[in-house]
């Protein structure tokens, strides 16, 4: 009987150890999603120029969907501005498609200090694009990280903390 108890306890310890090891390994270097970008996604900037997402091939691309009516988005943007400056020479490019009308977006670009490309589109178009990129609920902020060869590495619905975002970018940027 004592032997049976020993095996039960040993088995449970092994289970917990296995789960813990998996979690630890995941934190140290979880595999990326590595899903190709859907084709033909296009945005229009505030001057009316159209861009496909493959325009930024060769860069680590962070696409951050935002809006002027989205308070968590406005909280997050100053951190994006800071990291764009910090990591520009290591190949980071941030773009900010806004689910908003162009006039509202223009009025916020300067106060927020946004110096990376900002795009706009009708809510229906933008929601359709976000859905193709994996944002089922259609909420904001929503970000995807795209590898230099055009594969989606990460998705995030909701605001990044500054530490989370910097850590994520460091994980994929060249040293």
């Amino acid at each position: 009987m004592r032997r049976v108890h020993f095996f039960i306890v040993a088995g449970l310890v092994a289970a917990l150890a296995g789960y813990g090891a998996y979690r630890y390994a995941g934190q140290r270097g979880a595999p990326a999603i590595e899903q190709p970008l859907p084709a033909d996604l296009q945005f229009t900037d505030l001057d009316g120029h159209a861009y496909r997402l493959d325009h930024w091939r060769g860069k680590l691309l962070l696409v951050n969907f935002w809006a002027t009516w989205c308070t968590p988005c406005l909280h997050e943007i100053p951190q994006l501005v800071k990291l764009q400056k910090k990591f520009a020479d290591r190949g980071l490019q941030i773009i900010g498609p806004a689910v908003d009308d162009p006039d509202s977006v223009r009025s916020m670009v300067r106060p927020l200090g946004i110096d990376y490309p900002v795009m706009t589109g009708t809510p229906d178009d933008m929601i359709g694009i976000m859905e193709k990129l994996g944002n089922g609920p259609g909420g904001l902020p929503f970000s995807i990280l795209v590898s230099p060869d055009g594969k989606i590495l990460e998705r995030r619905l909701g605001e990044f903390t500054p530490a989370e975002l910097e850590s994520l970018l460091r994980k994929y940027l060249p040293q």
């Binding site: 088995g11 994996g134 619905l157 605001e159």
Partner: protein, 157 residues
């Protein structure tokens, strides 16, 4: 017989890491959870219950899911039918006050929301309304402004 508990524990040991892997796979593949919480779509989070005429008012109501809220200042009502129909300024109920560095003071609604709309005396009652609203989830995700056309059901006849 005495090996059964050990076999069960061993199977558990083998399965747990894979359960974790499966959990990660789904979370990373389809992003609809924040902080471990599954997020609703806007029409599920802010369920517009329609518009009913009750006497000299049209009542518009929402059920707002727990963990979500609507902004008072983002509610908007317009008459679609009749084409020249108008509404008086809506008497919106007071909401819960919140303060935000970007939005300043704002009022929000949680739970059930009921708004009574009236129209100028002598004019035709609204039969179809455009109702616009916008809200957020408390976990830090906001939804685009929603606009719905609703037919007014006349309960006063």
């Amino acid at each position: 017989m005495t090996r059964t508990p050990f076999v069960c524990a061993a199977l558990l040991a083998a399965a747990l890491p894979w359960a974790g892997a499966a959990e990660d796979f789904w979370h990373r593949g389809a992003q609809d959870a924040v902080g471990g919480r599954h997020l609703l779509k806007a029409d599920q989070a802010f369920q517009l219950l329609g518009a009913q005429r009750q006497g000299d008012a049209v009542i518009v109501q929402w059920n707002i899911a727990p963990g979500y809220y609507l902004y008072r200042k983002r509610l908007r009502f317009d008459v679609v039918t009749p084409a020249d129909g108008r509404l008086d300024a809506p008497a919106l109920p007071r909401g819960e006050k919140i303060h935000d560095a970007f939005q300043g003071e704002a009022e929000i609604y949680r739970g059930h929301l009921k708004v009574a709309l009236r129209w100028p005396p002598g004019e035709d009652a609204p039969q179809r309304l455009s109702v616009a609203y916008q809200g957020c989830a408390e976990v830090g995700v906001c939804y685009p402004p929603q606009t719905q056309l609703v037919d007014v059901v006349d309960l006063s006849r």
